[in-house]
Symmetry: C2
Subunit: 228 residues, 2 copies
């Protein structure tokens, strides 16, 4: 049997990266990467990362601290002077939770690590359509990043970024997760740093609505579970 090629999965602890991992999992030997960047919920997210990596029995793990985004601020996720907005489903503006150029930092770490351990694929759970309107969640961004990898690494290095759920709606991501039997109960999506998910931020709202549309009840606890 041919040895599987190596991949690095960016695992935030949320639903999108979990389903992306589940989609790609059987094709690769996966290493798991988690980044703390001063986001309010970073300890809770790391806990979910560990539980997910344990669930899939991923041995090779890297948890990094991204000191820079914490210093730079400019987002309600990392700057406590900017409040987390209540969900505004009708808005087309880029929300206050936008962390400037965040996914570039994540991918830079993934590419550096991939080049050192010899991984040829990076798995990221970006979602274009049904997401919050972040510019770095569109496939166009990942195509530009593939080009950057091509010109910015050693000539023999071949690394590509795959985005297994980028064109799916949040509802279809949940359905794909159900099909692949992912452990939704281990995930954390809420932007706030509370013991239970708040149920009122953008991220909770998108998650709850998608689960409801997919016909399942969210297995995690909420401070306030809205009726979607």
């Amino acid at each position: 049997m041919e040895a599987k090629t190596k991949a690095i999965a960016l695992i935030s602890g949320g639903v999108d990266s979990l389903v992306s991992l589940a989609v790609a999992y059987s094709h690769y030997t996966v290493s798991a990467l988690h980044v703390r960047y001063g986001q309010r919920a970073q300890d809770r997210e790391q806990q979910s990362f560990t539980a997910i990596a344990d669930h899939y029995e991923i041995e090779n793990r890297l948890i990094c601290d991204l000191d820079a985004l914490r210093h730079i601020g400019g987002s309600s996720l990392t700057d406590t002077a900017i409040p987390v907005s209540e969900a505004q489903p009708a808005s087309s503006d880029i929300p206050t939770s936008y962390v400037p150029f965040r996914n570039t930092h994540f991918l830079s770490i993934a590419v550096s690590w991939a080049e050192v351990i010899g991984a040829s694929t990076i798995i990221i759970g970006a979602v274009a359509e049904d997401s919050s309107g972040y510019p770095d969640c569109r496939r166009e961004f990942y195509d530009a990043f593939d080009k950057l990898i091509e010109v910015g690494t050693k000539p023999e290095t071949k690394i590509r970024i795959i985005t297994p759920v980028i064109h799916l709606s949040k509802k279809d991501i949940i359905l794909e997760g159900i099909r692949l039997n992912v452990p939704f109960e281990l995930t954390w999506s809420c932007y706030r740093n509370t013991s239970k998910a708040c149920g009122t931020c953008d991220s909770c709202m998108l998650r709850l609505r998608a689960l409801q549309q997919a016909g399942i009840r969210d297995p995690i606890d909420y401070e306030k579970r809205p009726a979607y």
Copy 2:
């Protein structure tokens, strides 16, 4: 008088970024960025960064720790298990000091900070021709990065990367520095963590040779000053 536009200068503490800063300085209001990434000489480099920022009276400064590259290793600069090579001027291989995808990390921080403070230009002292053969020091890489910024930031964000010395030889960089009266005595280039520059690593060799070709004596001290 029209207010100058804001720029962020990446200042490593070495000669190339110093001369790049000096070339661009009069056109912008400059903020200074320095990154520690677990490189052996990081404390010495930070000391040079501070002295250079003081010299140019740059008030707005950001010093970041890049935890990830330290963990990832794979380079003689960040991984003490890999020895720093003696200079091999004739080699066309990528040297052991190559830090995988390093400049992408630096630029990601610069872009995130630029987006938050409203800077429109990033100044980086990359050198293509006479450098050590790093893939992320060619203009092709910066063109790809400009494209990434375009698709990966807010629609209203306009940021471009300038590389004032990228097509100059090391000798011409020194001559430009002399013309602009830069404080060479404040810089640090050596890859090693020693009280005086070693005089034998790639970086010392390139520096010493360029200064000699430009007809000036290096004002810093060396453990062992080779005869170029």
